[in-house]
């Protein structure tokens, strides 16, 4: 059985849907913490349910990733680029999983009710503890910046494959039957 040339359609759907959600989420978070207007409140009310949606989707996505076959990287790709590709994908998955959990954890550690909207309440995942809150809140912010930088590197690499190397890497995420 030969290696697939494309990601399966479900993986591609999850990739592009989550790409939009994560970029939106990064901008929402950055704008929210720099605002004292009503924008702060409505962005916050968007940020929390969107974060939980990303958490659920990344779990589905990891299941899809481990149960389907991925197209291989081009054979002539230099070793350091193979390493960078693999490491950045591990980092992307780790951050997609960690950031919503840190957000949920920091609200819990602040002793705040974890509310998604007016009435839907999630359980607290940590006991109230001030120092834990401060640590998680800072990690949430710094790792969000790391995720943004990683997304930019990922985007630049995808375009480099498409426009400079002119290989099939970007195409494998854009189309095909799998």
């Amino acid at each position: 059985m030969s290696a697939p040339r494309h990601f399966v359609p479900l993986a591609r759907l999850l990739h592009w849907l989550m790409a939009l959600m994560i970029i939106a989420m990064l901008f929402i978070g950055a704008g929210m913490v720099a605002s004292v207007s009503e924008r702060h409140e409505w962005l916050l009310q968007l940020h929390k349910p969107l974060g939980i949606a990303i958490l659920l989707l990344v779990i589905v996505r990891l299941l899809v990733r481990f149960t389907t076959r991925q197209p291989p990287l081009p054979t002539d790709l230099p070793g350091w680029q193979v390493l960078a590709a693999n490491a950045s994908h591990v980092l992307l998955y780790a951050l997609m999983l960690a950031l919503p959990l840190l957000g949920w954890g920091m609200i819990s550690a602040a002793g705040d009710p974890v509310m998604l909207g007016d009435s839907l309440q999630l359980p607290s995942i940590l006991p109230a503890h001030a120092q834990t809150f401060a640590l998680l809140r800072k990690a949430h912010g710094y790792l969000a910046y790391l995720l943004f930088v990683t997304v930019l590197v990922h985007l630049a690499a995808a375009l480099f494959h498409a426009w400079v190397r002119r290989d099939e890497v970007l195409d494998s995420m854009l189309r095909g039957k799998g």
Binding site: F133, W163, R166
Partner: protein
């Protein structure tokens, strides 16, 4: 496995084409990074941010690690709220229908200096956290004044800037605050009140007003604009002995609570159509209907350095279902600025001065 179209099989790009393509990638990445820098305020240094609001408080009062950046001196209290059920027709919040809801609160002085003498300001504040049986919470911060000096966060920021030390003298410019008030006629009701206000000898004898407007929402979805406050159920005779020392409020509170619980009535004032719900500097006419929602009973006190209230952010937009924030711009600004202050002080808990003894 063999890559079906290795890049080496493609004709090499000319130097010009390569430069163009690499530039295209750089432009796209830079555009995204630039948009992000604009949104997070890096490219917009004039924007009023939560950090700027807290910074000006630190500038005026000094940095006191571990303490709140405003209302820094206070004391934790705990007790419960007994509902009359009167507000339950207007709001679906459990706090108004169930007989009893536990409360953790905090009395404080409205200053960013945790060592301010109790007699130095004529205002006292009370923050409350009601924890409903369903896990939802209602947090509110109230003050003993009837109105806020200003109605917008920009004006509040300018008011703080007017009190900032002048770099040349190290002291606030004495003409800055009068100039601020001259330019802000909305502060007149506050200034009229403060002219007659005296520092009270006790937290227990004060009325505390929520000042900002909220909406009560009933199960049918009807919204009623309200303001709330608590009124003490016992008043002292005119105080014969003026308070001594700098920390008399906490001593007085401990003494009173040793003798028995303290009670306040929670009053909820219903707005008429047309009453301002987005301007905390404007009072509502005195004839508005007032609900007696229940009784706040405070039973015990704890030192603020290690009491339960220490790690509570009394964010006025942490509300249960059945209570909603209004368009009052100070509400969202308080919520945003408190979050910034909360992160700073929770990062500094281990820098708090040596633990004081907890009081019963």
């Amino acid at each position: 496995m063999v890559d079906p179209s290795p890049s080496s099989s493609r004709p090499p790009l000319s130097a010009a084409a390569l430069t163009l393509r690499l530039s295209g990638i750089a432009v796209i990445v830079a555009a995204l990074a630039g948009a992000f820098a604009y949104v997070n305020g890096s490219l917009d240094p004039e924007r009023l941010t939560p950090q700027a609001l807290v910074n000006v408080l630190e500038k005026n009062n000094g940095v006191h690690p571990g303490f709140r950046r405003n209302h820094s001196k206070g004391v934790c209290v705990a007790g419960y709220f007994q509902s009359t059920g009167e507000a339950s027709a207007y709001s679906s919040a459990q706090v108004f229908s169930l007989p009893q809801t536990p409360v953790v609160g905090r009395f404080a002085l409205p200053s960013g200096n945790p060592y301010a003498p109790d007699g130095s300001v004529p205002i006292r504040s009370l923050a409350l956290r009601f924890t409903q049986a369903n896990g939802q919470q209602w947090r509110t911060g109230m003050n003993s004044m009837p109105v806020f000096p200003v109605g917008t966060v920009e004006a509040f920021y300018q008011f703080q800037q007017a009190q900032s030390p002048d770099p040349a003298t190290g002291k606030p410019n004495p003409t800055a605050v009068p100039a601020f008030f001259a330019a802000h006629p909305e502060a007149v009701p506050f200034l009229q009140w403060i002219k007659t206000a005296k520092p009270s000898a006790s937290y227990a004898t004060e009325t505390y007003n929520g000042i900002n407007a909220f909406y009560l929402v009933n199960p049918a979805g009807q919204r009623q604009a309200v303001r709330w406050g608590v009124v003490p159920l016992s008043q002292d005779a005119a105080d014969a002995t003026p308070p001594q020392g700098t920390d008399f409020l906490e001593q007085d509170l401990v003494k009173r609570l040793a003798a028995g619980p303290l009670r306040w009535q929670l009053n909820i004032t219903l707005a008429n159509p047309g009453d301002p719900v987005n301007d905390a500097s404007k009072a509502w006419p005195a004839d508005r209907k007032v609900l007696n929602a229940g009784t706040l009973v405070l039973e015990r006190t704890q030192a603020q350095d290690n009491g339960e209230c220490r790690d509570i952010n009394y964010d006025p937009l942490i509300l249960p279902q059945g209570i909603e924030g209004s368009d009052d711009p100070l509400l969202v600004a308080r919520s945003a600025a408190y979050a910034s202050s909360y992160l700073r002080r929770t990062s500094e808990v281990n820098q708090l001065p040596a633990k004081q003894e907890s009081r019963p």
